[in-house]
C-alpha cells in the first residue's frame, strides 16, 4: 500500500480502519455504485521520482526557451526581468498551499497581500477599485463587457480592431450567448490608431460599451483623451492595458475609463507558454457591486485591531448562485501575489525606469531595422515597445533564419490580420540587449 507516493497508509492502518468501519474490502465503500469500472486505466504504472524528473527534464529540453534564445516577439506575453526575490518569497508554501481565505482569521497573509495588490492596481491604473484577480487579460475583458451590460442594460459592443485578436475572440465567446454583439472599429492605416470617425459613426443608443487597447496590439499608443471625448458618458468605456507601459503612459483612469482590464503576466510572472497569467480588473467605485471576482476589504476585529476579509460576497457564486455577477471561483491569487511583489520591488521609481527602457530599446530597434532597408515603417503613431514593420523578406523565411541564429523573430501579423501581408510585429523589452539588436541587424543585412 505504501508503495505509492504521498499516501500515508500502512497495511496496519488500513486494517485498523477497516475493522473500525466493520468492512473487509474497500469496495464495500463503493457498494452504492451501480457499475464499478472493471478494467485497468490505460495509463502507465507509477514512476519513481528519479524517472519522473528525467522524463520531465527531457520534455523541457525539447522546448527552446527565452533564457537560451533571444526574442523579438511579444503580442501579449512579454519577456521581462523577474527580480530574484520574487519567486522564492511567493513560493512560500504557506501561500502556495493555502486556498481561498474563507476563514479570515487564519488567512490574514493572503488577505493582506490581496488588499495590497488591489491598491497597487488602483494606483497604477488610476482607478478606484480593483478585484483580487481574474484568469487572464482576455477573460477579464469578456467579464468587463458583461459588466457593462449589467451597468446599462445594453447589448452592443464597439471593439477596436486593434484589441488583441485573442481577446476579441474570447469576448465573442462570452458575450454572444447573452444576446450581445460585437462590432469592430477600424484603425487608421497611417497611424495605426483608432479611426475616430468610424467610432463616432457606429455609436448608437444601443451601444453598451467601447473597448480600446492602450497601447494597442500594434504597439501604438491610442489617444485616450480624444477617444473618451467621443464616447457618451452613458456608454461604458473599457480600456485594455499593458501594465508595464503605465510607468511611462498616463494612467487610463485619468481619461475617465470606467473599467480597465489587462494581462498582468508582465508584472513578474514567467511567460509559461501563456499561462497561468493574471487578469487585471479595475473599475470605478460606483460600479463595485457590478464587478465580478473576489474583493478584499479592510475591517477591524473584536479588539479594534486592523484585519482584512472578503467583502461583497453576495455578488459571488457561492452565495448568489445563478444571480451572481460571474461564475468565477478559483482565481489567480498566486499570480496576483507575484505581481504585487514585482510592484513592490520596482516601486515608484522602478516602474518608470523599466517602462522608459522598454520605450528606448524598442525605438532603437525600430530605427536600426529600418536602416537595414529590409523593412519599411508602417504606422506613424507613437508606440511603446512594439511596432509594425513591413518586411521585404518573406516573414516565414525571416523567422526560420533567425531561429537558426537562436532568435525568435517578430510576430507574423497575417496570421491574425489577413490584410497584413508581409507585415510583422517586433517587440523589445528591457532584456533586449544592444548587442542582440546589432547582431540582428547585421545578420539581416547579409540576408537576401
Amino acid at each position: 500500500m505504501n508503495d505509492f507516493p504521498y499516501l500515508p497508509h500502512t497495511q496496519k492502518d488500513i486494517e485498523e480502519m477497516f475493522s473500525f468501519l466493520g468492512i473487509k474490502d474497500i469496495d464495500e465503500l463503493y457498494r452504492d455504485i451501480p457499475a464499478l469500472f472493471k478494467g485497468e486505466l490505460n495509463i502507465p504504472s507509477g514512476l519513481s521520482e528519479i524517472e519522473v524528473k528525467e522524463r520531465l527534464t527531457d520534455l523541457a529540453q525539447l522546448n527552446k526557451n527565452m533564457e537560451e534564445y533571444g526574442i523579438f516577439r511579444g503580442a501579449g506575453i512579454y519577456n521581462h526581468y523577474i527580480p530574484s526575490v520574487i519567486y522564492p518569497l511567493a513560493s512560500n508554501r504557506n501561500f502556495l498551499t493555502a486556498y481561498t481565505p474563507y476563514q479570515a482569521e487564519v488567512s490574514q497573509g493572503t488577505l493582506q497581500i490581496l488588499y495590497e495588490y488591489q491598491t497597487q492596481i488602483c494606483n497604477l491604473t488610476a482607478m478606484e477599485v480593483s478585484n483580487s484577480s481574474m484568469y487572464d487579460g482576455a477573460s477579464a475583458l469578456a467579464e468587463a463587457i458583461l459588466m457593462a451590460k449589467r451597468i446599462n442594460g445594453k447589448n452592443r459592443v464597439l471593439m477596436s480592431k486593434t484589441v488583441h485578436p485573442e481577446y476579441q475572440e474570447v469576448s465573442k465567446t462570452y458575450v454572444k450567448v447573452q444576446g450581445m454583439d460585437i462590432e469592430q472599429i477600424d484603425y487608421l492605416s497611417e497611424t495605426g490608431q483608432l479611426d475616430l470617425a468610424d467610432l463616432t459613426s457606429k455609436i448608437t443608443e444601443e451601444t453598451s460599451c467601447v473597448v480600446v487597447s492602450y497601447p494597442n496590439f500594434f504597439g501604438v499608443i491610442e489617444d485616450l483623451k480624444v477617444i473618451r471625448e467621443k464616447v457618451p458618458s452613458e456608454v461604458v468605456f473599457i480600456v485594455v492595458t499593458y501594465p508595464i507601459s503605465l510607468g511611462l503612459l498616463e494612467a487610463p483612469g485619468k481619461f475617465c475609463a470606467d473599467i480597465v482590464v489587462g494581462e498582468g503576466q508582465s508584472l513578474g510572472n514567467t511567460p509559461s507558454f501563456g499561462g497561468p497569467g493574471l487578469g487585471i480588473f479595475a473599475s470605478k467605485k460606483k460600479y463595485i457591486r457590478k464587478m465580478p471576482g473576489r474583493i478584499i476589504g479592510e475591517t477591524v476585529d473584536q479588539d479594534g485591531k486592523r484585519g482584512f476579509c472578503m467583502v461583497l460576497q453576495t455578488r459571488e457564486q457561492h452565495i448568489r448562485r445563478e444571480k451572481s455577477t460571474s461564475n468565477i471561483c478559483s482565481n489567480h491569487a498566486f499570480n496576483a501575489l507575484v505581481a504585487s511583489l514585482y510592484l513592490n520591488v520596482m516601486g515608484k521609481q522602478g516602474i518608470k525606469e523599466v517602462s522608459l527602457q522598454n520605450y528606448h530599446k524598442a525605438h532603437y530597434l525600430a530605427k536600426k531595422l529600418v536602416e537595414t532597408e529590409k523593412f519599411k515603417p508602417v504606422f506613424d503613431g507613437p508606440f511603446f515597445n512594439e511596432f509594425v514593420l513591413e518586411s521585404k523578406i518573406d516573414p516565414e523565411l525571416l523567422n526560420e533564419k533567425l531561429l537558426e541564429q537562436h532568435y525568435f523573430g517578430p510576430l507574423i501579423l497575417k496570421n491574425f490580420y489577413k490584410e497584413m501581408g508581409n507585415k510583422v510585429l517586433f517587440c523589445a523589452t528591457e532584456l533586449t540587449k544592444k548587442r542582440d539588436i546589432d547582431f540582428l541587424c547585421s545578420f539581416l543585412e547579409g540576408l537576401s
Binding site: 473500525f20 497573509g109 511611462l248 499561462g275 499570480n335 516601486g347 520605450y359 540587449k433
Partner: protein, 478 residues
C-alpha cells in the same frame, strides 16, 4: 501588522536595472499621454520586502502547516517534485507564439495529459484550455448550448441543477445563456428521481451533476438519470470537483455523462495558491468533439505535435493561448508519479479516510445522512444550538486547535452544515487527533459555550467585523 505602503520611505529602492545600452530616443508621445505623476507604489529596500512576506506567511494556514479539510476543495498535499519540474526553464520561459517546432516538449506533455484525462473520465476528447473549474463549467455549458443550437434544439433553455450543487453550477449555466431549474434532494441525500422526472420537459437542455455530490454520496440512480435525460434529448454535465473519490473506480463517461470538467488543482494535486491558478479541462463524448474551444493538441502521423485549430463548430476561445500550462505540467507529473494503480489507491484511501472520520465524529455529532460516503461527508451542526453555539462558532474554535475548519454552511440543504473532506494524504493519526479535537470542542460547547462564541482566542487576530467591512468598503489603501 503594517501594510507594505506604510513601510515605504521616499527615495528607497530595491530594483536594479542595467544602464540603458542604447541611445535614448526622443519621447515622441503627445504630452497629455505621458504620465506626469509616478504611480503611488511603495519605495522599499529588499530587506523590507523579505521581512514583510516572511511575516505574512506566518499568518496563513496551509496544507503544509496542517489539516485543511475544506469540503469539495480537495486540499491534498502538493508534492515538491511537481513544483521543481514546473520551474524548469524549458517550461517557464517559453512564449505562446513560438514556432511549434520549438515547443514539441510542451505539446507532447499536453497531448499525453489529454490522453490521460480521457482515460480517467472515460470520454473521447479533451480541451485543456479552461483556467479553473468554473471556467470549465462555462466552457462545457457553452458546448452544450452550441450543440443544441446546431441540432435544432435551440429552444431547450433549462438546465436542471440539484439543490445540493456548487454555486458555480447555476452561475455557469446562466453565463452560458440557460435558465436554472432546481431539483430537490431526497432523504438519502441524492437527487429526488420523482422530482426530477416532473421537471424534465421539452425545454430541458441538460442536468449538471456532481458525483459524488457535495454531501459525499454517489448518485446511485445515475444510470436512470442518464436514460431519462438522453431520452429527452438532454445532456448530462459532470462537475468534476469530487472526482477524487472515484478515479479508477467508476468513470463518468461510462455513466452516461456527455461533458465532464476536471479540477486539476483538486484531484491532481496542483497547489491552490491562495485561490488559484487552477485548471479546469473539459472532456466530451466524441459527438461533441467539434464543439471544443480552439485549439486542441494533436499528433501528426510523423509523431510531431501541433495545435489543431480545425474544429468546425467550436464555441470559440475561452481565454488567450492554451490553458494554465504550468498547472498542466504539475498535474501531468502527479499522474506519472502515481500511475494507474496509484490513482485508484488515491480514491480508495480518500474514501476510506472520509468514512473513518465520519464514523468517529458520528459518536458525538450528527452526520447529515447515515449512508456510506465517498471522499467527504456533511455534519449537521444543529445539535449545538441547544448550547447557543453555531457552526460558525464551532469552526472558529477549531482555529484555536491549529486545524482548519471544514467548509461551513454548505451545502445549503443541510442546516448548520460542516462539509468535511479529509483527503487521502492525511494519516490515521491525524484523523484520530482531529476526532479528539472535535470531541473536546463538543464538550466545551456543553460546558463553556462562551469559549466557542468568542473564538478564536489564541490567534493574532480575533473575529472580524464583516458588517463594517461591507458597509465601509475600504478596498484600497489611501
Amino acid at each position: 501588522m503594517k501594510l507594505i505602503f506604510e513601510k515605504s520611505v521616499s527615495g528607497r529602492k530595491s530594483y536594479s536595472l542595467p544602464k540603458l545600452d542604447v541611445k535614448e530616443s526622443q519621447i515622441d508621445i503627445p504630452e497629455h499621454l505621458v504620465r506626469n505623476e509616478a504611480p503611488i507604489l511603495p519605495e522599499l529596500y529588499e530587506v523590507d520586502i523579505v521581512r514583510h512576506y516572511n511575516q505574512l506567511a506566518t499568518l496563513n494556514h496551509s496544507v503544509d502547516r496542517g489539516f485543511y479539510p475544506l469540503g469539495s476543495c480537495t486540499m491534498k498535499y502538493n508534492p515538491f517534485l511537481n513544483e521543481e519540474v514546473a520551474s524548469l526553464n524549458g517550461f517557464k520561459f517559453i512564449h505562446p507564439y513560438q514556432e511549434e517546432s520549438t515547443v514539441q516538449g510542451a505539446l507532447e506533455l499536453m497531448y499525453e495529459l489529454q490522453e490521460f484525462l480521457k482515460e480517467i473520465t472515460g470520454m473521447a476528447n479533451v480541451t485543456l484550455q479552461p483556467a479553473a473549474g468554473a471556467h470549465g463549467e462555462l466552457t462545457g455549458m457553452l458546448i452544450i448550448k452550441k450543440y443544441l443550437q446546431e441540432n435544432n434544439l435551440g429552444h431547450k433553455n433549462e438546465v436542471i441543477i440539484p439543490d445540493s450543487a456548487h454555486g458555480t453550477n447555476p452561475a455557469s449555466a446562466v453565463m452560458a445563456g440557460f435558465e436554472v431549474v432546481k431539483v430537490n434532494s431526497n432523504n438519502e441525500g441524492r437527487v429526488d428521481l420523482d422530482h426530477l422526472k416532473s421537471l424534465v420537459n421539452e425545454n430541458t437542455a441538460a442536468i449538471m451533476l456532481t458525483n459524488p455530490n457535495t454531501l459525499g454520496f454517489f448518485e446511485k440512480d445515475i444510470l436512470k438519470i442518464s436514460d431519462l435525460m438522453h431520452k429527452n434529448d438532454a445532456l448530462l454535465y459532470y462537475d468534476g470537483a469530487n472526482l477524487n473519490a472515484i478515479m479508477g473506480k467508476v468513470r463518468p463517461g461510462d455513466n452516461g455523462f456527455d461533458v465532464v470538467h476536471l479540477n486539476l488543482h483538486k484531484t491532481f494535486s496542483t497547489p491552490h495558491g491562495m485561490g488559484g491558478p487552477g485548471s479546469g479541462p473539459i472532456a466530451v463524448k466524441s459527438y461533441l468533439k467539434e464543439y471544443l474551444p480552439k485549439p486542441v493538441v494533436g499528433m501528426k502521423e510523423s509523431g510531431e505535435y501541433y495545435f489543431d485549430y480545425d474544429i468546425s463548430k467550436s464555441v470559440g476561445k475561452m481565454r488567450s493561448f492554451y490553458g494554465n500550462f504550468l498547472v498542466l505540467v504539475k498535474a501531468y507529473t502527479y499522474i506519472l508519479s502515481l500511475g494507474k494503480e496509484g490513482l485508484k489507491k488515491v480514491s480508495e484511501l480518500a474514501t476510506l479516510n472520509a468514512n473513518y472520520l465520519k464514523e468517529k465524529l458520528s459518536k458525538f455529532l450528527n452526520v447529515a445522512y447515515p449512508d456510506v460516503c465517498k471522499h467527504e461527508f456533511v455534519i449537521k451542526g444543529t445539535s449545538l444550538k441547544d448550547y447557543g453555539v453555531s457552526t460558525l462558532d464551532f469552526a472558529k474554535r477549531l482555529l484555536d486547535y491549529g486545524i482548519h475548519p471544514p467548509t461551513v454552511y454548505f451545502p445549503l440543504i443541510v442546516d448548520e452544515a460542516m462539509m468535511i473532506e479529509p483527503t487521502e494524504t492525511e494519516s490515521k493519526e491525524t484523523l484520530d487527533e482531529v476526532a479528539a479535537i472535535y470531541e473536546k470542542i463538543v464538550e466545551e460547547a456543553r460546558r463553556e459555550p462562551d469559549k466557542l462564541k468568542e473564538a478564536p482566542l489564541t490567534l493574532p487576530i480575533k473575529r472580524l467585523d464583516e458588517v463594517k467591512a461591507n458597509k465601509e468598503l475600504n478596498v484600497k489603501f489611501d
